[in-house]
Point group: C2
Chain length 457, copies 2
């Protein structure tokens, strides 16, 4: 990103230099240059380096130093296993133990079960237990992305002693900017920000300066809802609790940014009918495997359409010109369906559509479909009339467009709302599915009308 | 979100109670209940309340209190004007002055120019100047989302005096968790986190504990690139500089979360061909206005398709059965084009696709298109052969599918890559456009082949 970052050489790692230092086996100089860079830049280098250089990095870097790299890296999930294999087993276990527990869990979830167990066995009991606790939680829930390395302060501490606790905890905790206050039974009692603590008099009691209205999330909450709450409330961290308000962990904003992007990519890829967004360096065969399920399903649906159209073969045989408008009509229906689908899916995802406004949305979409359908229908009638001088054909095509757009627009919002109601992710009713459905409906409307009025054509 | 938040009444504002207190003109009790809630909840109530109750809120709340509500609210841009009109002009100006300058700019950018000028005139000079400075920056750049309310510390301060500076600045600054260190000429020299300061000895010199490798963004950088950098590096704040490394402002993570969502929604709506994602409470007429530009454009393109097909009227007239497979072929081309478009657009947006890998992506997509095209082509051939017992027709349809999917897949990645190269937002080559283009290409391939082999059918 040359236009973004200032071209100050010292900001980033000099990758050529680092490679040379590794090749020349200069651990001190390597460490000096490499560790001065931001972990994200370290991670980028680490991923690119190749197994030979990486093996040398395992010699020159401590497990804790490598753990920091793994924390921020964006190594694709399926590659974790390979990287860990390169390391000595004990070194790998040490590194996992040094990672924040939530991130270690992300890694362990992606590798071979028996391998994961080996690493857990090699860890110290406390580290292993922290990780095992988190491994229980289902993927995509608050529990699976929370960390257990956070700071709590007793309600009756003074600001002075709170500061002492913070100083102690700072090197380990994932954030010390929000501190959660727990009562004697580890129930969440309040929150106080480091900002509040700094401003407060040293002798004040935490219980007096804390905010008792803490917004928390249940450990079973969906990660997308957690992300929404943090974004809405501008939190840097949010506490995770069980039904009895016991504090179980916290979720920090850096993990939430990843969730926001993950969920947006997810909705986006479903709209496009890609089961899972592939990374650009996947092979053609792997990319094809990801896309074929949708394409095969759509081939079937397309054959159904063809089959239905077969019933109108006689009509098509009589007036071949009819066929010429099929892509136009199907395309318009597909597009307006996708538009209204996108509004509904995104509205559900961002929480803009709540229970009470669902009916309102449906009525609005019906109105919108009527307007867009009428405008496009009249427009097409005029075009056909002026181009082919066929008033009846123009009326027929225009009416089919009006009907198709109306039905497609209503279906485009009705289907995701229905899926949301029956607790299926509405994004699954993705673009290609809605488009094909609307293809079928619109062709039925068009050829049905044509068959009725065939004598006029 | 009942399953997300714990049902503790005291966490949120009791909206009925607040309404009653406003109606009964009980300023003290209203303030007690209302101000205990999180500003986000206050904002939700404020938006819903209606002009009558809001006018009373302007009486009971200070401009500074209302400013906090405006900070976090998600009032749609076009409604800012209406809300400000409800207030006394001086009160509105006071409130804008109390907001963080970056947020005040967001509001002023959306309202009538002459009104904005009035508010600026009524503010104190310093507040007005801060806002005017930011108003210069182009929308969607780092400059437009940065704040100028941040803390800097001289390089030679001790940790003790830095803490004193922070205590002083805490109530005003947007964040005190990252502190940027500037040299005598206000050039960015380093960064130190509050965590580092807390851990450090009180007598250490900031220059010694700060990190000199600060990642910064240029004031003209695109907000999407800023968001990417902050997400990658897990920053809570990033400094904004000019070409000479002068510190101009900072961008905090809460604004970046909004950017991430804005950009994701933007890509998503473009894929669906909605010029701008409409909020669910827009009227049908307004929603139709947003969607019609695309639909009208696509009607034109659809008429071009119809026109091209008109040239094959004789072929269609001879074998009416041909028409039956048009939606299938066009649909498959449209869908595989959208898949490959989505991968390319998202890859460019997330920075996964960099210059060097563009050619690689094109070659990969060509390979992918060949594989998916072959699989679907053979599959369709078999279906047609088994269903209609027509080997030649099956071969024709199968070959058309193979060709269409191949071309559509390559076009789906080539077009966004080309647009990115010539500095047009690739998301503009949105779904409906690619779909219609692929409709045309696939129908030409199909009917072209059919015309060539018409004697065999």
């Amino acid at each position: 990103m040359p236009e973004l970052l200032n071209e100050q050489e010292e900001q980033h790692i000099d990758e050529e230099l680092v490679t040379r230092l590794l090749e020349e086996e200069q651990p001190e100089l390597f460490r000096e240059e490499f560790l001065a860079g931001h972990p994200y830049d370290q991670a980028k280098y680490y991923e690119k380096a190749g197994p030979g250089l990486r093996r040398r990095m395992y010699e020159y870097l401590s497990p804790a130093e490598l753990a920091e790299i793994f924390e921020v890296s964006e190594i694709p999930d399926e590659e974790f296993g390979g990287f860990l294999e390169e390391m000595d087993t004990r070194y790998a276990a040490d590194m996992l133990a040094q990672m924040y527990a939530d991130n270690a869990v992300d890694v362990l979830n992606e590798i071979d079960k028996s391998k994961a167990l080996t690493y857990l066995t090699l860890m110290e009991d406390e580290d292993a237990r922290e990780i095992k606790d988190l491994l229980h939680y289902e993927e995509y829930t608050a529990g699976s992305i929370m960390t257990t390395e956070y700071v709590t302060i007793p309600k009756n501490s003074t600001v002075r002693s709170a500061m002492a606790i913070l100083r102690n905890a700072a090197p380990e905790a994932e954030t010390i900017y929000y501190i959660f206050v727990a009562d004697d039974e580890n129930r969440l009692a309040g929150v106080v920000s480091l900002r509040d603590i700094i401003i407060a008099d040293e002798n004040s009691i935490i219980g007096d300066i804390m905010n008792e209205r803490v917004v928390s999330v249940l450990v079973s909450a969906d990660q997308e809802e957690v992300a929404r709450t943090m974004k809405d409330y501008d939190f840097l961290a949010i506490p995770v609790v069980d039904f009895q308000q016991h504090l179980l962990g916290i979720i920090t904003v850096d993990d939430i940014m990843d969730v926001l992007e993950e969920e947006a990519s997810d909705d986006y890829s479903k709209l496009a009918g890609v089961s899972d967004m592939d990374t650009p360096d996947r092979s053609p065969l792997n990319a094809a495997k990801k896309r074929l399920p949708w394409l095969i399903l759509l081939t079937f649906l397309g054959m159904v359409t063809a089959n239905l159209m077969g019933h109108f073969e006689k009509t098509l045989d009589q007036v071949a010109l009819l066929a010429v408008f099929i892509p136009l009509i199907a395309g318009m229906a597909g597009n307006s369906g996708t538009q209204s689908l996108a509004v509904a899916v995104r509205g559900i995802a961002t929480g803009d559509i709540e229970e009470e406004s669902k009916m309102k949305l449906l009525f609005r979409e019906a109105g919108t479909g009527l307007i867009t359908g009428s405008v496009c229908g009249v427009f097409v009638f005029l075009l056909v009339f002026l181009w082919k001088h066929e008033a009846v054909l123009g009326l027929l095509v225009g009416a089919a467009i009006l009907g198709s757009i109306f039905v497609a627009t209503v279906a485009g919002s009705f289907i995701p709302l229905l899926m949301h109601r029956i607790k299926i992710d509405p994004a699954v009713a993705s673009g290609p599915f809605i488009t094909t459905l609307n293809d079928i409906i619109s062709i039925l409307i068009y050829l049905g009308l044509a068959t009725l009025f065939i004598s006029q054509l």
